[in-house]
Symmetry: C2
Subunit: 83 residues, 2 copies
């Protein structure tokens, strides 16, 4: 099973990398760019087919390792079942 | 309009960060983790409502700045219309 995890800074937390990318895009002439947020995305291949159990385990992984819950939020999405 | 861009290393390109995360997760007892790929995700807020034009412009941004087309692939997804 493949699970996709996205980790972003929480709303209200400064995202300096996003600001830098926004400025660079505007400098290149993309004036329509109003805001940019940069996050991390993890694609996990798991040896399990139990979707609910996998989601709980991945939430633990997010709390322990993949994100910093103080300043970041995460979202979990099961993208593909493999058996 | 909000557009989400995901950038991953191409298949076959070594992803050392993914390998490190995989090893760390297995070390924490998550033995079901078979593989991890780490990518970047950008959420762009654009001052436009023309979906098709936005997609073309964002593809240019990916080629020029957001990804390294030699070793990375990108995907573009319109996530939300705002007017």
């Amino acid at each position: 099973m493949k699970v996709k995890v996205e980790v972003f800074f929480k709303e209200g937390v400064l995202d300096p990398q996003g600001k830098t990318v926004k400025n660079a895009l505007q400098h290149l002439g993309y004036d329509e760019v109003d805001d940019v947020r940069v996050g991390k995305v993890f694609t996990l291949s798991l040896k399990t087919s139990d979707r609910e159990a996998a989601r709980k385990r991945v939430a633990q992984m997010c709390e322990k390792l993949l994100s910093n819950p103080v300043v970041e939020t995460y979202s979990i999405d099961t993208v593909e079942e493999t058996r």
